[in-house]
Amino acid sequence: MRELKILSPTAILGYGFPMASWEEGIRRKPDVIAVDAGSTDPGPYYLGAGLSFTDRTAVKRDLAIMIPAALALGIPVIIGTAGGSGAAPHLQWNREIIEEIAREMNLKFTLAVIPSDISKKTISTALKAGKISPLHPAPALTEADINDAVHIVAQMGTEPITKALDGGAQVILTGRTYDPAVFAAIAVREGYDRGLAVHLGKILECAAIAATPGGGSDCMFGYIGNDYFRVEPLNPIRKCTTLSVAAHTLYEKTNPYILPGPGGTLDLTKTVFTQETERTVHVKGSRFIPSAGYTIKLEGVKKVGCRTVSFATTADPVMIKQIDEITPAVKARVRDNFTEMDDYFLDFKLYGRPDKLGTMGIFNAEEAQPQAAHSQAAELAIIIDAVAPTQETANTLCSFARSTLLHYGYAGRISTAGNLAFPFSPSDVKMGDVFAFSLYHLMEVDDPCEAFPIEYVKLEG
């Protein structure tokens, strides 16, 4: 079996790559160029708002290099999780960028677009049929979650991508996709071991992050053979070591040995990492264990309101000492002043407290850090956070909380001109819609492709 070669230019489409690394990748004549664009890391906003967390100009720059090079080599380009979240508006956003490149560079090719939006009716039917299960510790799904959702997508596996390759696609743009799938699809299609292909995809999806020194905006090259794969960074300043490649398996995962995905689990308990050359790591023994039924992961968000925030700090030791009494008193003053408003969230996010480090400001680290618990910050950052059903109400709450805190007469006050330092004028910022994750569940499907219809588009320059 010949070695199949996969070029991963960058960790996230739009993060960029140095041209020298890219040219080295092209010189090695890859069989496919693949890139992942997705992540839930930036939080629920981007899926809810239908916006990309990467910049349009940066995404266009990367694609305007990748697409013509791939067409010249006669190899496919596969782009996973368009626009970061992969819902219909994200797919459309990235599709327009590709169409623009085709026009501007006079490129002719077949584009396959694979949406991943799942209708509420489909999910509701699956819920009633007992085909939906929560991913612990996410809560169980309710009909209300389905009804309230703004966008719902499912992560596709390799199968819809393979089907688009069979259909003659030269560029494939997918909705929400299991990150390794865009790298693994061509290898699986050509009969390479699924466990090795998916494990290789797991490494390539973050490009040079798995090298040392790591970097998100640089290329990684993968080779897959009969019973092994190899990875090598293309920038001579980086190398892959057994430690850097093995360590990458830990990243953002719960258990590095058992990695569940569409249709089964990647099992790394028997994986062996070997240093092949100074810069190349050889991997074997990774196995794919198919699950009894084929499940896909749903991701969905709901709108919870509109937000206005105000950034401030305080450096007053008398105020900092009493901050846990002052902020509830300000909240009570706001409540008292606007008794007709009852459906809102008002919070003071405090950064800089020694007793709240690494606790998400919530749980109690006092027991473990008694010294920290009894020491006091020299300066505290305070973010006033108001979330309400309308932007106007959020503005009102934030403004009133800000002015109340600014002039609040706490006990023993010496600094009477104002309690806060504001870095900006205006002090308050309208942040618009606020979303929360509401679906994060597995849905069983009969066919891995049924939820992901393929549209072929002939671009004629």
């Binding site: 930036p42 612990h136 719960t254 690494g358």
Partner: protein, 112 residues
């Protein structure tokens, strides 16, 4: 011998593992340091829960990953990523208590 974690670890980090979990990676400077800490059992669900002031039941998993000389701890995220009480959407700055974590080991680890 008493050690503070950064003496033995080259990487101490936290990050989301999906919106509902927070995961911590400790990668040790040497295999000897990794083995010594793993064998002494100082990083347990109970010890981690005490360090962070959380219920031991919310510590989901502690995995020893030999190929990377790493111990991985995953907990239920106290706030779902991006929910109203959020302070760290990516979960990347929750590692500080581990930087201060100190413990006894039965023998001295050779410098690495």
């Amino acid at each position: 011998m008493r050690y503070q974690l950064p003496q033995l670890a080259s990487v101490i980090r936290s990050k989301n593992s999906g919106p509902y979990e927070l995961t911590f990676d400790i990668m040790f400077k040497s295999e000897a340091a990794y083995r010594a800490v793993a064998d002494a059992g100082v990083i347990s669900k109970e010890a981690f829960a005490a360090l962070y002031g959380i219920a031991p039941a919310t510590v989901m998993e502690i995995v020893h990953f030999d190929p990377a000389h790493a111990i991985k701890i995953t907990i239920e995220r106290p706030v779902h990523s991006g929910d109203l009480r959020e302070t760290d959407v990516y979960g990347a700055q929750q590692h500080a208590p581990l930087m201060a974590f100190s413990f006894d080991l039965p023998a001295e680890i050779s410098p690495c």
